[in-house]
Amino acid sequence: MSLLRPRVVFLVAFLVALSLAAAKAALATFVSANCNYNAPTWSPNMYRDGSVTVALVARYEGYHWGGGCWNDNNVDEGPNEPLQTSSTGGEGGDCSGLTFKVWRESLNTGDGGHYQWGRLRNVHGPYTAADFKAGAGVPNATYPKADAIVMDAFASSTHIGMVYQRSTSGADQIVEAKCEACGTNIFTRTYRSDSSYGGVRRMGWTG
């Protein structure tokens, strides 16, 4: 039987393509399948309440350590990822990645930013939570916790969350990418009074 009979050629080609496509598809992640590296858009104005809305889009979209890419469909498309692993390419930001995007910062720490990053732009930014706590980067500064208002943040050496609204109890509603099991959401927290947290202000708001 000749190996160059049409049916044999078809079958071999089919099986080779099937294997390669299946392998590639199986290795695809949320990031590789959905995210981009588009340039951000610069704008002169930056509003605290407008930035809250940017954060709200990330709500329910999951948490991904070292991540910064999400869509807006209320589904975490990369759930149950291993702790502190970025290579799994799941959906969502981590705490500092979310803050970087919501605060419209720059990849250049010497730049004041004002960059609107698309939600599917895969970017974490140069800052860790500890960097934010220290006020690292031109747009950021440490700030008295008692005076923190909407879209200021509280940061520790391992976490950062942004103020959404004060509560009557004196706690705060915080919008944050908390952890893989917690996701990204609005939670009531007591970071303001916790001495392991410091206040951080993103400077340069229009209003």
Binding site: A21, A25, P144, S169, C179
Partner: protein, 454 residues
């Protein structure tokens, strides 16, 4: 001709094989296939509002709201409008005040000034707001039940004023007894720790104390409630919880109520377990966020946001919960205990009955105050646990308040190495105050007897 035919067969095989491969893997669910469509952005509208539950003379009579919805350009403020519906006291018709847009976003860009006659009303005023996304017509009512359960703002005319000097950090009281001591781990008698020291450790997130002094610890990481008796581990009750930071309360019949966090697309839920751990019922809460759970005379109540109201939860739909929202926690006496942290360094506490303040305290501190961790009646007074803080220090301050002010007070180490639910670090049982604490080695529950002043 034969070669062309073979190339065609080969190309067909490759194309069909590739399609089948991608399809098969997608069907098996192991690929990031096409995402579900984005949600309807018109409904992304939320509100930030701090209701002035307890007002002192001189407070500005303004209601401020931040409205969050997508602008025409991402990152632009919401193009919003709205009205506040307000009346004196708790009865009668509501009048309408259109919200005015301002440039001040710190406390709320949208403002309604309370008319002087309502601001001066001895019975306070009640109100609700309807906020609109002008671009889409989507609206949100806060509190969500509107006229059926409006917000209540009460004047503090005769409050006992307590002035606290600069807090002296480090002068803390030692515990009277350590009633729980559990090293981190999953074996019986240990307590689960999520993440560990390099990534924001989260330990048991809540606890409660039974009438007989037994302590129940929600070890959500290990999906169980630990029972402790006389300082000894007395057993575990498996409970089906998600493992996130949750609050917990024990009912008089031994039922265990667990207030679960909201997760991916999930509204937070209150789960009620029998003493055996079997699920009795569960119900989503009415608002998007919770801050605390307590058991009142009619069962569990949850303080919810953005309404900031306490709502009864057992077996009620979210709408039914919202229609019964009220500003304070319901006490066994039927009164409400209303808590309001004003400014940066004042806490206001009031016992309210029939929409009127019966007695109240204003605690004015020279040191910034964080959250009011606990406010509970004790004999003829109230126990309050506050959290004074600076940029680098924090402690808890326990005050026993009576008719003339502070009757007893002491500081307590914050002992907060591992995170808990926000307002779940203290419980009062009888005349003993219990504190949930932790170190890098273990978690513990300490008891402080309040009739002893040290």
């Amino acid at each position: 001709m034969r070669a062309i035919r073979l190339i065609c067969w080969c190309a067909c095989g490759l194309a069909l094989g590739a399609a089948a491969g991608v399809g098969a893997v997608a069907a098996a669910g192991s690929v990031a296939g096409p995402s579900p469509p984005d949600r309807d952005t018109a409904r992304i509208i939320d509100v930030g509002h701090l209701p002035p539950l307890l007002r002192a003379a001189g407070d500005a009579a303004m209601l401020r709201f931040n409205v969050f919805c997508p602008g025409a350009v991402e990152g632009e403020p919401c193009d919003a409008a709205g009205d506040v519906f307000i009346r004196a006291g708790t009865a009668g018709a509501f009048g309408k005040i259109p919200l005015r847009r301002t440039d001040d976003v710190a406390d709320g860009r949208y403002v309604a000034e309370v008319p002087p006659d309502l601001a001066a009303s001895p019975e306070g005023f009640s109100y609700y707001a309807v906020l609109r996304n002008e671009a889409t017509g989507a609206s949100l009512t806060v509190p969500s039940a509107g006229a059926a359960a409006p917000q209540l703002s009460l004047p503090l005319a005769d409050a006992v004023v307590v002035h606290l000097a600069e807090h002296r950090f480090g002068s803390t009281r030692h515990t009277d007894a350590r009633v729980v001591q559990a090293p981190w781990g999953s074996a019986p008698g240990r307590a689960g720790l999520l993440h560990g020291p390099t990534f924001g450790p989260i330990g048991p997130s809540a606890f409660d104390v039974a009438a007989n002094g037994d302590v129940a610890v929600l070890d959500q990481v290990n999906r169980r409630v630990e029972r402790w008796h006389a300082g000894q581990h007395a057993g575990d009750i498996p409970v089906d919880v998600t493992g996130g930071i949750a609050d917990m309360a024990l009912e008089a019949d031994g039922a265990i109520d667990v207030l679960e966090p909201g997760g991916e697309s999930r509204t937070p839920e209150l789960h009620s377990f029998a003493p055996s751990g079997a699920l009795r019922w569960k119900a989503p809460i009415a608002d998007r966020t919770w801050s605390q759970l307590r058991v009142g005379p009619q069962g569990p109540e949850v303080q919810q946001e953005p309404s900031e109201q306490w709502m009864p939860a057992p077996r009620l739909t979210p709408a039914a919960q919202a229609s019964r929202g009220h500003p304070g926690r319901t006490l066994a006496s039927g009164k409400e205990l209303v808590v309001f942290r004003a400014g940066t360094s004042e806490a206001r506490i009031a016992e309210v009955s029939g929409g009127r303040v019966k007695r109240a305290w204003r605690i004015v501190s020279a040191t910034p105050l964080g959250e009011v961790q606990l406010a509970e009646p004790l004999d003829n007074g109230v126990v309050v646990v506050l959290r004074p803080y600076t940029e680098t220090q924090d402690e808890f301050l326990v005050l026993v308040l009576g008719a003339r002010g502070v009757e007893r007070s002491f500081g307590v180490d914050s002992a907060d190495w591992a995170e808990t639910a926000p307002l779940a670090r203290f419980r009062l049982a009888g005349s003993a105050l219990y504190q949930l604490g932790s170190t890098p080695n273990a978690m513990h529950v300490d008891r402080f007897d309040l009739e002893v002043n040290r």
